[in-house]
């Protein structure tokens, strides 16, 4: 909106300058058709743009002037001096409004009734009203020149000319349009210049008395100024990212039956357009969240003694080298009790840890992957995905996001982001003889080791550091990157610890040496290195050497630091399927075990006293039923007052609990299944959070507990065709569907699926992946619908991402539904809806 407005202002002020000349010509010569048409066109386009931009005052004036000019152009009325005066008055009013717009971004207040009346009077040839009031709040010089004209009954031509004499003073042409490509290139060049400057400074450092010293320092200063200047050219007001929000809020309000006021201020705060692009989506997501979860409905608000209309305030300001954006709602605030419960249920923290946690730390759990406290799954915000992605997107550009919540009074999210991305300050560190750059924004503090300073302690093979009463996990950079062997547990450690802010919390990066900080230009790595985790780019240092830039979040992920470290790298999302994976330990084995979260109905902690032995098997009283318990490996029932973590599987009214030792984490991972030694109950192994993890074969364990779990053959069992290229997903989805009572046939691609059709097989529904090699899901759909025996078979699409656009596209293409893989409940409900039967569950 803001940029449209700027463009409109620039264009219109040019056109208005021409218009003055044309109007004078009109009055002098009675006006030829060409001039009249030109004036008409200009005023017409102002009216059109005003309507488009919602500028009502401008629109009204332009509309009245256009009507009069239309009559002149068509010869339906003869050009009278009074008429020209009125049009000139209108042009000036337009100009006044435009300069107000340019200054404040909003139409200045004012009353144009008299002017409009004069324009209407001129249409009928009546005498104009006695005076045209000055309309602007701040009188413009041009307007003052016109006012006497308007007040005179028979305006002298000279006065009109005078009005024209100072035309463009209100809005001189002060900007030109430059393509973004040119600006980006300038930015690159300026960045290169900074590098060369740094290199020169480094060379000169040794030689103080050099004749180059003085010009060099001048060069250095000019370079800095230039860098700053070029950076300014790429700045855009943050309101450019806010443009769509009022509409989104309005639509959401209607959809949710809430009344919502969106108040925006500080929209003119400028930041680099690249940064702007990157915060657009997170901002939108946060505002949607506020509308959906933050604000209550009108009744709830009334009951709480609050105005029915909820309020979301969006503010932006610059603070030092950073931009601070706040999104505050006056809604119900986060339900910290529920967040605590959810964190416990998700195994993100123990009860004792939660009890000791401050409210603001508890609130931060909402940034964990897969964490959602929304009671109902609404169409507006998805199922627990979102805030973690918001956070990782913001952190990827070196920003931070904080959350404050006040029960019953609302929630405020504060985003801090750097002004620009191209040049960052970095700390240069060295490990195993190699240097690396760490973005300064992520470095919380530096701690020197040894020599009476801090000491590294060992928990078995894991180094930790005591820092102000807290245990900081340490990541030794050299061994992590495979540059040197890991130190033995207990060995003395020297060097430095850089305390970094990772996704899930702080951790210490153990390095040998720390050098200066340096301004670096972040360059992307070559495509063949793009899959490397742990690095965000590379750069050339002042001494000309090339070094890699560490990505603290990536390093944390590689090292498996912290719970729920599930920052999703967009570049990876496109390539691999990320799955929400539950990581747990069982059977006393130290090897973690992973299972897709979607196949599990609930995670429970059952009291030991609820566990009993029935028919030689363990079972627990659970939700009014006796639920069979199946231990994974060796297990001893807990003491009556101890708690037992259990993964609950559900099929209709049947329930089964898998007994585990502890829930470790819920993470988003690409479960790249690697075959491992045949081990009953496991599909193989995968790397989860940097650790080798066994992947659970759910079907095996469910059969252990209840051999009839997957049901007996039944004539009424709906037949289902699953088309999915990933063997891993087939292995997971088939048992999930079978356990829900479907007779599933799985095929790896569309061609094999169509082969079945050729063979005469019939199904009640087809569940297909979208992205498949060869024929994709959409093409398969088109082929099935084209003709043949499956023409009317319902089809449901399975996809890695089921955003609103994808869902809309899928539905438009003719899929009955479009659901995310692993969203077990959604897949099942979509299937039963598609088949048009009661869910067998």
């Amino acid at each position: 909106m803001e940029d449209l407005l700027a463009e409109f202002l620039a264009e219109t002020s040019e056109a208005l300058a021409d218009l003055d000349t044309a109007l004078v010509a009109l009055e002098r010569q009675g006006g030829d058709k060409e001039t009249l048409a030109q004036i008409f066109r200009t005023v017409h386009s102002v009216k059109g743009a005003a309507g488009f931009l919602g500028l009502h005052r401008l629109g009204a004036v332009a509309h009245a002037a256009e009507n009069l000019l239309g009559l002149y152009r068509d010869g339906a009325a003869s050009v009278s001096p009074a008429g020209v005066t009125a049009v000139l008055g209108a042009v000036d009013a337009i100009r006044t409004i435009l300069s107000g717009l340019a200054e404040t971004g909003a139409e200045p207040a004012g009353d144009d009734a008299a002017l409009v009346a004069a324009l209407e009077a001129a249409q009928t040839g009546e005498a104009p009203p006695v005076s045209l009031p000055v309309v602007a709040e701040k009188p413009e010089p041009v307007l003052e020149a016109v006012a006497p004209v308007a007040s005179a009954p028979e305006p002298p031509v000279a006065a009109a000319v005078e009005a024209v004499a100072a035309p463009a003073a209100a809005l001189p042409t002060q900007s030109i349009r430059v393509s973004l490509g040119v600006l980006d290139e300038l930015m690159t060049l300026a960045s290169e210049l900074v590098l060369v400057r740094n290199q020169l400074l480094q060379i000169a450092r040794g030689a103080e008395a050099s004749p180059f010293a003085a010009p060099l320092s001048r060069l250095s200063r000019i370079t800095s100024d230039m860098q700053e200047g070029v950076m300014k050219t790429r700045m855009q007001p943050v309101s450019a990212a806010w443009g769509p929000l009022p509409r989104i809020v309005r639509d959401l309000g209607t959809e949710l039956g809430k009344r919502i006021d969106l108040v925006m201020s500080g929209g003119d705060t400028e930041l680099d357009r690249q940064v702007l692009e990157l915060i657009r989506d997170p901002l939108t997501h946060i505002v949607r969240n506020s509308c959906d979860h933050g604000l209550e409905g009108p009744e709830a608000r009334r009951a709480a003694g609050k105005p029915e209309t909820g309020r979301i305030a969006l503010t932006a300001r610059q603070e030092g080298g950073r931009i601070v954006i706040e999104i505050a709602d006056d809604g119900r605030g986060l339900d910290l009790v529920r967040v605590r419960a959810r964190a416990l249920q998700r195994g993100l923290a123990t009860e004792a840890e939660l009890a000791a946690m401050r409210d603001e730390d508890v609130a931060r759990f909402v940034f964990h992957a897969g964490f959602s406290t929304a009671e109902a799954i609404t169409a507006v915000s998805g199922r627990g995905v979102g805030m973690d992605v918001v956070r990782s997107n913001i952190e990827r550009i070196g920003g931070t996001v904080d959350l404050q919540t006040f029960s019953g009074r609302g929630t405020t999210l504060t985003i801090r982001i750097p002004l620009t991305l191209a040049i960052v300050s970095a700390l240069v560190v060295q490990a195993a003889g190699e240097r690396f750059a760490v973005p300064q924004a992520t470095v919380v503090e530096l701690v020197g080791l040894g020599g009476g300073g801090a000491t590294v302690e060992w928990l078995d093979a894991a180094p930790v550091l005591r820092l102000r009463g807290q245990l900081l996990p340490l990541v030794a950079l050299g061994p992590l990157l495979g540059l040197e062997a890991a130190r033995d547990g207990g060995a003395p450690v020297g060097g430095f610890v850089a305390v970094l802010q990772g996704d899930a919390g702080r951790y210490g990066l153990l390095v040998d040496t720390v050098f200066d900080t340096e301004e670096i230009v972040v360059k992307p790595v070559a495509p063949i290195l793009r899959d490397l985790a742990g690095f965000s780019g590379n750069t050339i240092l002042g001494d000309g050497s090339v070094i890699m830039i560490l990505d603290p979040a990536g390093i944390a992920r590689m090292a498996g630091v912290g719970a729920g470290s599930a920052v999703v790298d967009d570049s990876l999302v496109e390539e691999v399927d990320l799955t929400q994976v539950l990581v747990f330990r069982a059977g006393g084995s130290p090897t973690p075990i992973a299972v897709p979260l979607g196949v599990i109905a609930r995670l429970e902690s059952l009291p030991g006293k609820s566990i009993e032995i029935a028919g030689g098997k363990h079972a627990a009283q659970y939700r009014g039923q006796l639920m069979p318990l199946v231990p994974i490996g060796h297990w001893m029932p807990p003491a009556p007052d101890a708690m037992q973590p259990v993964l609950v599987f559900q099929d209709g009214t049947r329930q089964l609990g898998l007994v585990v030792d502890e829930i470790v984490d819920v993470v988003e991972e690409s479960l790249a299944l690697r075959p491992s030694a045949e081990q009953a109950g496991f599909l193989g192994s995968a790397i989860v959070c940097g650790r080798v993890t066994d992947v659970l074969d759910c079907a095996y364990w469910l059969r252990q507990g209840d051999p009839s779990w997957f049901g007996k053959p039944d004539a009424t069992v709906p037949r289902l065709l699953l088309v999915e290229d990933s063997g891993f997903f087939r292995q997971i989805v088939v048992p999930a569907l079978t356990s829900a009572g479907y007779d599933v046939t799985a095929k790896a691609d569309a061609v094999q699926a169509l082969q079945l059709r050729a063979e005469g097989a019939m199904f009640d529904a087809v569940l297909t992946d979208i992205e498949m090699p060869g024929m994709d899901g959409f093409e398969l759909l088109a082929e099935v619908r084209r003709d043949g025996p499956w023409k009317r078979t319902p089809m449901v699409a399975l996809t890695g991402r089921a955003g609103p656009t994808e869902v809309a596209r899928g539905r438009a293409a003719g899929f009955h539904d479009f659901v995310a893989k692993f969203d077990r409940d959604r897949v099942l409900s979509a299937l039963s809806a598609a088949i048009g039967q009661e869910n067998r569950a």
Partner: protein
């Protein structure tokens, strides 16, 4: 793709890789420089020797010996960077030595024999019969096609 001089002859820069005589079309080559300091890239795919600074641009160095399945060069051996451009990125192909530019004519050109196996077959496009011996013409694109998914397509 190949540099074709006026009479259908092709200009090849000759390289020494592990004692073999290889060639690369001159048209692909942006620069030839003596090996400078190469910064290692931890955890990089095998074959990536590291990064170097070519007049302010970062160049990713690829070791031809590794790509061709030859044992690594001695740590102190002098190597040469043959710099090529691929989709806007600069890559250096590390060779043991660089010789003269040869003009080879089509009559002396042969297809790669099917008996040539392994990495050589993957990365060679032709064999030229020279007076002094055989020259294996390499394909820079294939050499730079890393990774299992690639099959020649570099991900953007």
């Amino acid at each position: 793709m190949t540099a074709t001089a006026s009479h259908g002859t092709e200009l090849l820069l000759t390289l020494q890789v592990g004692g073999r005589l290889c060639g690369l079309p001159v048209s692909r080559i942006r620069d030839v420089i003596r090996c400078e300091r190469i910064a290692r890239v931890p955890l990089a795919p095998p074959g990536v020797a590291g990064l170097l600074n070519l007049r302010g641009r970062i160049v990713t160095a690829v070791d031809l010996r590794d790509r061709l399945g030859l044992p690594p060069a001695a740590p102190d051996a002098a190597r040469m960077n043959v710099v090529v451009e691929e989709r806007g990125e600069l890559y250096s192909l590390l060779a043991d030595g660089v010789g003269e530019v040869l003009s080879v004519n089509p009559e002396s050109r042969d297809d790669v024999p099917h008996t040539l196996r392994g990495p050589w077959r993957e990365h060679a496009v032709a064999v030229h019969r020279l007076d002094g011996g055989l020259l294996i013409e390499l394909d820079a694109d294939r050499i730079l096609a890393f990774g299992a998914r690639s099959g020649g397509d570099m991900r953007r």
